[in-house]
Symmetry: C2
Subunit: 134 residues, 2 copies
């Protein structure tokens, strides 16, 4: 409580996506999060619930991500909670670990520029709106 | 023509956004591109046209970006083509230069991880779909 909460609000966070040359989205923050939550929960349904997302939306996201790679990242498991669960494959774990490392390295490389941009931010910042992804 | 076109399609490109802690989008690929095109063209209308975007959409994007910073990034200029144009302010130029540097440093920091993920990609890749930004 030694700092007003507004301070953290003004930190810039990096959100990183990887796209193929065709425009195909391969990895991004939402895909990373669902992989991590499937890994923690052993279930797409539980991951979806935690992310406030429908099962259908989560399944579609996992399916779209699976199709981007040679081997699927998530596979179903017979039995378990809710009559079957899901887990990361070896490829899934490798993609999760690699994209985590990529995010960490990118963030570490740009601290100087990030700080400079933070110093130029409006005070107070405007309210966030749903302004699209551009 | 010594390589089939598919090769370039499989290169992963990084798309980087900066968000404030409140969720406010501050900078991203579309915002960077419109700033660059306004700088090149001296006009929001010309920048919008080049990006296949309506003037209204471009203006809203510029306005939303301006509001994120202490000083506007784009200002209008009296006279000139189409009865007035637009140009980057000193802050606008600083943000453009800094975000360019940030993108370059981030990309350079992650070549190892990017290459590793490229090696795991499906061959052929699925067709890109409008699968949202996650």
């Amino acid at each position: 409580m030694s700092q007003p909460p507004a301070t953290d609000d003004r930190h810039l966070k990096m959100r990183l996506r990887l796209k193929a040359g065709t425009g195909l989205l391969v990895m991004g923050p939402g895909r990373l999060e669902i992989l991590r939550r499937i890994d923690a929960n052993g279930s797409i349904a539980a991951a979806a619930r935690e992310m406030g997302m429908s099962y259908r939306r989560a399944w579609t996201l996992v399916d779209a991500t699976n199709r981007c790679f040679r081997q699927p990242l998530v596979e179903s498991v017979a039995g378990g909670r809710r009559g079957g669960g899901a887990r990361l494959t070896a490829t899934g774990r490798q993609v999760l670990t690699t994209f985590d490392a990529l995010n960490a390295k990118a963030a570490a490389a740009v601290t100087e520029e990030r700080t400079l941009l933070e110093e130029l931010l409006a005070d107070p910042l405007p309210e966030p709106k749903d302004s699209g992804k551009t």
